[in-house]
Subunit: 275 residues, 2 copies
C-alpha cells in the first residue's frame, strides 16, 4: 500500500501555489509565470478564470504576460454556472493541455462550480499524468483538501471567526492562505491549524509561490512562505464553545522560507537555500 | 550573583505593556486601565505624554477614562525638549507617585528626550521601589533594552528593513512590538528576533497588555500576545549583506496567548488560563 502510494506520488505533476499578485509586467522578470511556462515545456496552458464573477480582462492580461514565454498557446476556460461544467467542448480544452492556471477571485466559486464535475476529473487527470496545476490567490486556496474561505485579517483572531470548506484535494494535509504578510493573516492561519494540527499551514506572500513536487516544495518569487506546524502544540482553546474568545495556542513551530528554501512536507523539515 | 539578581528582581515593581488603543470609554469596561488603577492602590499616577509631539488632549482623555477608577490623582508629565528633563519640578512629580503611564507617539521621542536624564533615573527608582510602569504603543516599545523603532508592516519582511535603538531597559532580553495583529507585524518581529535569538519577541495586539511581575507575565484585554522564541532557530539569513533579501528563518517556536494565559520569561514556557 505504501509502495502503491509512492508510485502514485511519482506519477503526479507539479503544483505552483501562488500567494496572489504575481508580477506580470510583460517587460518585468515575471519569475513565477516564467517558472510555470518553463515547466509546461512548450505545451498548452489553460487559464481557468472560474473563480471570478467577472472574468473579463483576465485572459488579455495573462496573454500579454505570457507572450514571450514560449507557451504552446493559452486558452481560457470559464464556467458561468455549474451546468456548463460538463460541456464537451469545455472538457476537451483540458485534454491536450500541459497545465492549468487558476486565476484569482473567490475560492468558493471554483469548488461550487467545478467540484464533482467533469472539469474537476479532467484537472485531476492532468495532474496525475504529470501536468502543472498553478493557482493564484483563490486559485491557491482551492488546492487543498480543506480550504480556508474567510476569516478576518489584520485583527485579533477569534476562535469562531474562520470559515473552511472542502477544496479540490490536490494536496493533502495542508491548508493554504494567500496575500499573507500583506493582509496580516498569521492569526487566522494559526487558528486554522489549531482546528486539526495534522494539517500544516502554508501562508504565501504576494508574488511568491510554493512549487510542490512529490513531498517537497521550493519557494520562488519576491516574498516569503510561512509554514505553521502545530504537531507539538501543547494547548489550544479552539474547541471551546465561545466563538468570541481569542485564540490561545501554545508551542507552535514556524518557519519563514525565502526564495530557494525548500521544505519536506512528509518530514516537516526545511532546508536553506544553497546560496 | 544569581541570588543578588533574584533579590533585585523581587524588589521591583510591575510593568503593564500595552499594545496600543486600550479601550478608555468612561462607560466601558476599561479592563487595562482598571488593572493599572487597581495596582496603584489609590496612589498618584503620572501620565507621561513625552512620546507625543502634540500632547494636547491626552491628559483630558485619560483623566476622563480614569475618573471613577479610584486613583489618588493623575498628573501630566511632558518634556518639550531634553533640557527640561532635569527640571526640579518635573522630577518631583515622580517622587510620590505610585505609577507612571507612558502614552503613545514615537518611542524615539521617549528615549531621546529622557534617556540618561533625571527623569529616567526617577522612573527606574519608582520601578525599583515596587511601582507600576505602564506604557501603550510607543510607551510599550520603549520598555525593553533594545527597542523596535521602525520596520514595514503588512508586507514581506526584508532583512535590512528594521530599525532598532537602545530603549529604557526596564525589561531585559525581550523586544516588544505593538498594534500587532492589526498592522500585520509578525514578519518584522521575527526579523528582530533573528538578529539575536537571546531576545524573546513579544507582539501585543491593541487593547491587550502583558502584565509583568518578576519573571512572569499575564495577558489581559481583548486581544492576544504573541511570543516569538528563536532559541532553537536552526537557520537565519539576517547576517547576509543584501538588505533587500527576504527573511528566511527556520524552527521558531511561537505561542499565542489570550487573556488569562501566563508566560514564564525565564523558562520560556506558557501556562494556559485556568478557565
Amino acid at each position: 500500500m505504501a509502495e502503491e502510494r509512492e508510485q502514485g506520488g511519482r506519477r503526479q505533476g507539479t503544483l505552483v501555489i501562488i500567494g496572489g499578485h504575481e508580477e506580470r509586467d510583460p517587460k518585468g522578470p515575471r519569475k513565477i509565470l516564467r517558472e510555470v511556462a518553463r515547466r509546461i515545456h512548450g505545451g498548452k496552458l489553460v487559464l481557468a478564470t472560474v473563480a471570478s464573477h467577472k472574468p473579463e480582462g483576465y485572459y488579455d492580461d495573462y496573454d500579454k504576460a505570457f507572450a514571450d514565454l514560449e507557451l504552446g498557446g493559452l486558452v481560457e476556460l470559464y464556467v458561468e454556472d455549474r451546468a456548463e461544467a460538463g460541456d464537451r467542448e469545455k472538457l476537451e480544452v483540458i485534454d491536450d493541455a500541459a497545465g492549468i492556471f487558476f486565476s484569482g477571485g473567490d475560492q468558493l466559486r471554483i469548488t461550487s462550480q467545478i467540484g464533482d464535475t467533469g472539469i474537476e476529473a479532467k484537472v485531476r487527470a492532468l495532474y496525475e499524468r504529470g501536468g502543472v496545476i498553478a493557482g493564484t490567490s483563490a486559485g491557491a486556496s482551492a488546492m487543498s483538501d480543506t480550504m480556508l474561505v474567510r476569516g478576518t485579517s489584520s485583527e485579533t483572531h477569534r476562535i469562531g471567526d474562520l470559515h473552511m470548506a472542502p477544496g479540490l484535494g490536490l494536496i493533502r494535509d495542508v491548508i493554504i492562505d494567500q496575500h499573507f504578510a500583506e493582509r496580516g493573516r498569521f492569526g487566522r492561519l494559526l487558528g486554522a491549524v489549531a482546528h486539526n494540527p495534522r494539517v500544516l499551514g502554508l501562508g504565501i506572500d504576494e508574488d511568491t509561490a510554493a512549487v510542490v513536487e512529490g513531498d517537497e516544495f521550493t519557494v520562488i518569487g519576491s516574498g516569503a512562505v510561512y509554514v505553521v506546524d502545530g504537531e507539538h502544540c501543547s494547548h489550544s482553546n479552539v474547541a471551546e464553545a465561545q466563538p468570541e474568545r481569542v485564540l490561545s495556542m501554545h508551542d507552535v513551530r514556524v518557519h519563514v522560507l525565502a526564495a530557494g528554501d525548500r521544505f519536506d512536507l512528509a518530514k516537516r523539515e526545511p532546508t536553506p537555500s544553497k546560496r
